[in-house]
């Protein structure tokens, strides 16, 4: 049977990982290649690199980084952050990324999803959705959660799937950073609405939270950043814990 996936997320600015990393064995905690290789060796199933670089010139650094990651790392990885056109996606995929993740650009122009999917296949298009629950409505936000849109999480998820998205990465803004667990009810509903894999994001604080995302939220994969970077949860111990809950884990 297909395994549930554990995905560490690495925030990258100007080719270096940001957010503190306190692994003592790393010679350079800011080196994304070293960190990626370490996560892969510990049993990460996939990696997500989120480019938070602001300027266009520096985005070229990201393409160079993707090339290095593809050379060193033998598991699949997704690159997101600022992918705004077919040519942005093409540059990353041709450098060796397995998937690209789109957020604001897809919201502004859903046709971009089908344009990329038709050229490179749905399997490489991840739609990242930041949403917040307010008075019983999950509203979708743009630009890293700064601008509220008219869109509802579930409608947008279905629309994205219809346009050819291969996977959804749903971040609950209510849960993100709280370390109180994932948005399991919304995750479960998402999985009922779409027939593509759903990645849970936002709220991981304990090993049990990952189990809940899979068992209660029916998520296909769970993503986290700080709990892994700060060494609060080790990937191999997490996977061991999940296997003991009878969750299918590699």
């Amino acid at each position: 049977m297909l395994a549930k996936r554990i995905i560490p997320c690495l925030d990258v600015r100007d080719g270096r990982t940001v957010k503190g990393v306190n692994f003592i064995e790393l010679t350079d905690a800011g080196d994304p290649i070293e960190l990626a290789a370490r996560y892969a060796a510990e049993g990460a199933d996939e990696l997500l690199f989120l480019d938070i670089t602001a300027s266009y010139e520096k985005r070229k650094t990201m393409t160079e980084l993707v090339l290095k990651v593809a050379r060193e790392v033998n598991i699949p990885f997704t690159v997101g952050g600022g992918v705004g056109s077919v040519s942005d996606a093409a540059a990353l995929l041709q450098a060796g990324a397995d998937k690209v993740s789109l957020n604001s650009a897809a919201l502004k122009n859903p046709k971009l999803i089908s344009d990329i999917a038709e050229r490179f296949g749905s399997q490489c298009v991840v739609i990242a959705i930041d949403a917040k629950l307010e008075s019983d409505i999950w509203s979708v936000y743009l630009n890293g959660g700064r601008i509220q849109t008219e869109r509802n999480l579930f409608d947008w998820a279905k629309t994205a799937e219809n346009h050819g998205a291969g996977e959804l990465l749903f971040t609950s803004m209510n849960h993100d950073g709280t370390k109180n667990g994932f948005a399991n009810n919304a995750l479960k509903k998402l999985s009922e609405i779409v027939n593509i894999p759903v990645i849970a994001s936002g709220g991981a604080g304990s090993k049990a939270h990952f189990a809940d995302a899979f068992l209660l939220g029916n998520a296909d994969a769970a993503l986290a950043a700080s709990v892994f970077h700060y060494g609060l949860i080790g990937i191999s111990e997490l996977k061991h814990f999940l296997k003991n809950q009878n969750i299918i884990i590699r």
């Binding site: 049977m1 297909l2 699949p76 060796g96 296949g121 399997q123 291969g166 593509i196 296909d220 590699r250």
Partner: protein, 206 residues
């Protein structure tokens, strides 16, 4: 070792080249030239793009008739393996007919594409017990090859399907060994260096 990677003008094959480089192989030729393919010691037919487009490209370069005649170890990956079958529902095209089975679309009883890590159970281990059964590999596909007499490894998702097929020097795998961590690199290593595996072909086939 001279390795030819068949180029049919679709998608990204850089990951495959990098995986081979990690195994110390740098004499790689990404090519659609029949002569270069014939001269290679190993031929890899990677898996990217759409079946009907890929078959058109193979025909354009005369590779549809050349490939079935090759005698050196040949590995088709993902779409590459699917195109080695009789026909595929993806674009309703005929394949190369090396594997006597059909490629069909998954019924959407679970999420499609089948994306992620899944296990392969050796039915007839092409690697003579060197590679353990139930090893994990990374899959991404919406179509699958039905099981047939040449199926040597099975995977279960919605139904059983052919994860690995073999006919003499021809091997096909549905998963991406270049993305399958340590297990995938062991698989590629055997394809490249396990001479015994190819010399004992008569024993592994029923």
């Amino acid at each position: 070792m001279k390795i030819a990677i068949i180029d049919y003008g679709a998608g990204n094959i850089r990951s495959l080249a990098f995986a081979l480089e990690r195994l110390g192989e740098t004499d790689l030729e990404i090519t659609n030239s029949g002569d270069k393919i014939l001269a290679a010691e190993r031929v890899i037919f990677p898996g990217v793009g759409h079946a009907s487009y890929a078959m058109l490209q193979l025909k354009k370069y005369g590779l549809d008739t050349l490939i079935p005649k090759l005698r050196q170890p040949f590995l088709g990956i993902c779409l590459g393996m699917q195109l080695m079958c009789n026909q595929t529902e993806e674009g309703n095209v005929n394949g190369l007919g090396i594997f006597d089975t059909s490629v069909i679309k998954f019924k959407p009883l679970l999420k499609v594409p089948h994306m992620g890590w899944n296990k392969v159970m050796w039915y007839k281990n092409p690697f003579n017990e060197v590679i353990p059964s139930m090893e994990w590999y990374y899959f991404v596909h919406g179509y699958y090859a039905e099981t047939g007499v040449q199926t040597v490894g099975l995977t279960e998702y919605i139904n059983d399907f052919s994860a690995v097929m073999r006919q003499d020097n021809f091997i096909g795998c549905q998963f991406h060994p270049e993305k399958s961590g340590a297990g995938g690199s062991v698989f590629l290593e055997h394809f490249l260096f396990d001479e015994e595996m190819f010399s004992k072909k008569g024993e592994t086939m029923a």
